[in-house]
């Protein structure tokens, strides 16, 4: 199982043709206290870079983009009542959605963990 990252700080954990998507702890910290998460409906088709979810902190709303294209198969309903989970466990229990990856080739353009760390250090 591999984890890949986007420049917009989403991560996707790949298991077979299913990817779990969330935002990185770096992004969660930058956003501050998350108070609301809007999740997509199951079955929705998203293309790479489409807005897949919205995460809102006390002050502002931010989009979460699909790291790759695919079909949303599951969303983390726990976030509706406990959006603060995103701050507490951005790379674990605070995942946003699972998707059936349409084209695994799109994963190649994403950063691995080491590359993402270097990327964040440069910000």
């Amino acid at each position: 199982m591999s984890v890949k990252y986007t420049e917009d700080h989403e991560w996707i954990k790949v298991d077979g043709d299913i990817g779990t998507v969330g935002i990185s702890p770096y992004a969660a910290k930058a956003l501050g206290d998350v108070v609301y998460v809007e999740l997509p409906e199951i079955g929705r088709e998203v293309a790479k870079g489409d807005e897949a979810a919205v995460v809102e902190s006390v002050k502002a709303a931010s989009e979460v983009y699909a790291p790759v294209g695919g079909e949303v198969t599951e969303v983390n309903e726990k976030l509706e009542d406990a959006p603060e989970t995103v701050n507490a466990s951005a790379d674990g229990d605070g995942w946003f959605l699972k998707m059936k990856i349409a084209d695994a080739g799109e994963l190649d353009a994403l950063m691995d963990e080491a590359a993402y760390k270097t990327y964040c250090d440069g910000l």
């Binding site: 501050g32 206290d33 108070v35 609301y36 809102e56 902190s57 006390v58 002050k59 709303a61 959006p83």
Partner: protein, 379 residues
């Protein structure tokens, strides 16, 4: 873009790892490592210290040395009754243009210190201050001096239920001040301040006008108290929103009158007629006579999704009836809170409305403000 201005506490904010952002031409702390949510709750539970030195401070006084002359001069520009201010008393008001639109909102005090009770002291918004001072200079009659204090005075606010305990350790005289009154007192043997029992969070607390040279020392002394934390502009915004207090440039501007903005209470009784003699009096009188088309109201979104500024407000039939002017999450309310203008017939608390958030209608109701109860000390 020109260089951002810095308050005298800028280095302190940086030292405390504040996240600094440009605000009204200043490099200001939006939050500290504690974060907006905890800073907000800390202020409501204990005491928050705010650097609001970016705001404009000035004194107005008459050459003839009487309070009456200065008060009459200022009364030409604001709806509030100034002449009746007692020494040490403070009022909230607005600078209006000829059409009754709000140029800025401000705090006006009559100084209480012996030998200075003929002077008015004003605090105006940072983003408006240059225009405000020009407006005052333009419309004040001859024989009135406007003494802008930006080069000499800083301003800090200590807000929250513990503010009184904290500050009265410096000088017990501040304990007996009631909401919207002020005194000039030493807070240490060497630091004299103008202290008013006021603020913009809905909490009990103080605003402290203090010499630039003294502000860092007093700030450090205040921060030694375990109940006091520095609080950034992020929490200042959520605190004032929950308290139902307007933010200039968002909830109020030149497009609205004080009456439309729900500030009727700040226009004293004999200042409500068209011939009250101040800029915009005709508009204020007309709006009081029920001719305004819209009003600022509280909006309580249902569910957890915040509705931000510029969110469209619709009636239940899908007709546009207004727009959100401030909106976010209220940490004390534990829910999203907002305010916005709606057409007159929708202003009653409990009226169901819809908010168009990211293209989808969401249920909300017109709500009574504040969203968190005011806890001012009235004696």
């Amino acid at each position: 873009m020109s260089e951002l201005l810095k308050t005298k506490l800028h280095a302190k904010h940086v030292e405390l790892y504040a996240k600094m952002v440009p605000f009204a031409g200043y490099d200001m702390p939006v939050q500290y490592p504690m974060g907006v949510m905890k800073e907000h709750l800390h202020t409501r539970e204990k005491a928050g210290l705010f650097d609001v030195s970016h705001m404009g401070q000035c004194f107005i006084f008459a050459d003839d040395g009487t309070f009456e002359t200065a008060a009459k001069a200022l009364e030409r520009l604001v709806p509030a009754d100034i002449q009746s201010l007692q020494p040490g008393q403070q009022r909230y008001s607005q600078l209006l243009n000829d059409e009754g639109g709000i140029l800025d909102d401000l705090m006006i005090s009559r100084l209480g210190f012996e030998g200075h009770t003929h002077k008015l002291y004003l605090v105006v918004n940072a983003g408006c201050k240059a225009d405000d001072f020009m407006h005052l200079a333009t419309y004040m009659p001859p024989g009135i001096t406007i003494d802008v204090a930006d080069d000499t005075l800083s301003l800090i606010a200590l807000q929250g239920p513990k503010a009184v305990d904290v500050l009265s350790q410096f000088n017990p005289a501040v304990k007996d001040l009631t909401f919207m009154t002020s005194i000039d007192v030493p807070l240490t043997p060497t630091i004299w301040c103008h202290v008013s029992r006021s603020g913009y969070t809905g909490e009990d607390g103080y605003e402290i006008s203090i010499k630039h040279d003294d502000v860092e020392e007093l700030t450090e002394l205040l921060l030694k108290n375990d109940d006091v934390e520095m609080i950034g502009l992020g929490a200042r915004d959520s605190l004032r929103l929950e308290a139902g207090l307007c933010l200039y440039g968002h909830d109020i501007d030149t497009s609205v009158s004080p009456i439309e903005a729900g500030l009727f209470w700040s226009v004293q009784k004999h200042r409500r007629s068209a011939d009250a003699g101040y800029k915009g009096a005709a508009r204020v009188a007309a709006d009081i006579a029920d001719k305004s088309t819209k009003r600022l109201v509280g909006i309580q979104p249902e569910g957890r999704a915040p509705a931000r500024e510029h969110t469209e407000i619709q009636d239940m039939d899908g007709n546009t009836i207004g727009e959100i002017t401030s909106g976010g999450f209220g940490p004390t309310a534990g829910a999203p809170v907002a305010m916005g203008y709606v057409a007159r017939k929708f202003t009653k608390a409990g009226t169901p409305v819809q908010l168009i958030v990211r293209g989808k209608p969401r249920a909300a109701t017109v709500a009574t403000m504040p969203f968190a109860p005011h806890r001012y000390y009235r004696g």
